[in-house]
């Protein structure tokens, strides 16, 4: 049984790897696809990629730790980023963060138990004029208020 799942596991990585040329240049794009598909870069994915590409696992793992866009631990289906840069901080980011932590029952940089949300802090997303800024799956929401932030999140993820 264990073997079965393992074989299946490998094929879900191979499907992605096969879309690319067998060259070191493809590595980052493949890792990004892993991230999109699984919401993180799984260890078995890195090991399989190393095997198929003939690139040391140490190198691929190092890439995984280097890029902010890649996560090596499982993440939620949706990512909420609260900007806590200087401008947003002054305009009330801490309250927004607290509200989200309370309502979603998750700590910053954590993932909710149901795997639905990952909550993160980021430093200045370059939209200070809209402070405080909250990003839901990379969509910018400016001038967010604690009382409204959960509505914004729900509205967006429920489509």
């Amino acid at each position: 049984m264990k073997e079965m799942t393992q074989i299946q596991d490998v094929s879900r990585f191979d499907r992605i790897i096969d879309r690319y040329e067998r060259s070191e240049e493809s590595l980052l794009a493949i890792l990004q696809d892993f991230q999109r598909e699984f919401h993180y870069v799984p260890e078995e994915g890195i090991r399989r990629l190393s095997e198929v590409m003939g690139v040391p696992a140490s190198k691929i793992y190092a890439m995984g730790t280097f890029y902010k866009a890649l996560s090596l631990t499982p993440r939620g289906r949706h990512t909420i980023k609260v900007c806590t840069g200087t401008a947003c901080h002054l305009k009330g980011a801490p309250q927004i963060l607290e509200t989200l932590e309370r309502e979603l029952r998750v700590k910053r940089n954590g993932t909710t138990e149901d795997g639905e949300f990952t909550l993160e802090c980021v430093n200045c997303v370059g939209a200070c004029a809209m402070a405080p800024v909250t990003l839901v799956d990379e969509v910018y929401h400016g001038k967010t208020r604690p009382s409204k932030v959960m509505d914004i999140v729900r509205k967006q993820v429920e489509g």
């Binding site: 260890e43 890195i46 040391p56 696992a57 140490s58 190198k59 691929i60 793992y61 730790t65 090596l72």
Partner: protein, 243 residues
């Protein structure tokens, strides 16, 4: 190879063009502090910055790292000026703040008169304890050994050498070349009862058939045999009893 002459601290030396300044200085008995450079490792150097010197060329002066600065015609190097020492003290103060527990760094800093730091110190048995993140170990593993068991992971202040997921690596052969090359002794290598432990992994050692000393990991013998086709029996005896 083209020979040129280069002036270091007022003395003229012959050297092959493009040899690094540090190398020429070393060969001629001129001491320049260095940490991350190893003459056997092409990809080493340029990271710790303690080897900086004044390079005068074409009427201009630049502070350069001597371990990767090539000697060319008309180059004059000064290793012992007030500027060199002032900047080096700054570099050492930062290194000392990062790894205050490293004897090597403490000594090198003290030699320049630096014993205290103005920055927050990073002390204790943290994950990268004595490591200055110079990557020499990683370069040795990749370039000299050829197994790529470790890489520099994370970024910025958290950067450090590690195996994937900090787990025992499936390619590491336990040779210990990384630990040997590390300028600050930051890599732990322990040996007990014929077993070597390094990078979270245990390696069974081969014992010399004459003196009984465990002297090389079995995995390293496997690696050498597979790479060079050398006869296995060659490793029955340690280098002291081989011939």
């Amino acid at each position: 190879m083209e020979k040129i002459s280069v002036v270091i601290d007022g003395r003229t030396f012959e050297a092959e063009k493009d040899t690094c300044v540090l190398e020429v200085a070393r060969r001629n008995g001129i001491y320049i502090p260095s940490l991350c450079y190893n003459s056997e490792v092409t990809s080493s150097g340029g990271s710790c910055r303690v080897c900086l010197v004044e390079a005068h060329q074409g009427g201009r002066m630049r502070l350069v790292t001597s371990c990767n600065y090539p000697v060319r015609k008309g180059l004059e190097v000064k290793t012992d000026t007030p500027l060199v020492h002032r900047i080096r003290r700054g570099v050492l103060e930062l290194l000392l703040a990062r790894v205050p527990d490293s004897e090597v760094i403490r000594e090198m800093a003290a030699a320049e008169g630096v014993t205290e730091v103005r920055f927050r110190k990073d002390e204790g048995e943290n994950e990268r304890y004595k490591c200055i993140a110079c990557a020499l170990c990683v370069n040795v593993c990749a370039e000299v050994v050829g197994v790529h068991a470790i890489a520099m992971v994370e970024r910025g202040a958290d950067k450090k050498p590690a195996t994937p997921y900090n787990k025992p690596s499936d390619v590491c052969i336990g040779c210990g070349a990384c630990a040997y090359a590390c300028p600050t002794g930051a890599i732990e290598l322990k040996e007990k009862d014929g077993v070597r432990r390094i990078w979270h992994k245990d390696f069974k050692m081969v014992r010399c058939s004459v003196c009984g000393t465990p002297y090389i990991p079995e995995a390293q013998v496997d690696w050498i045999v597979s790479k060079t086709g050398k006869d296995r029996s060659f490793f029955d005896k340690c280098p002291d009893h081989r011939f």
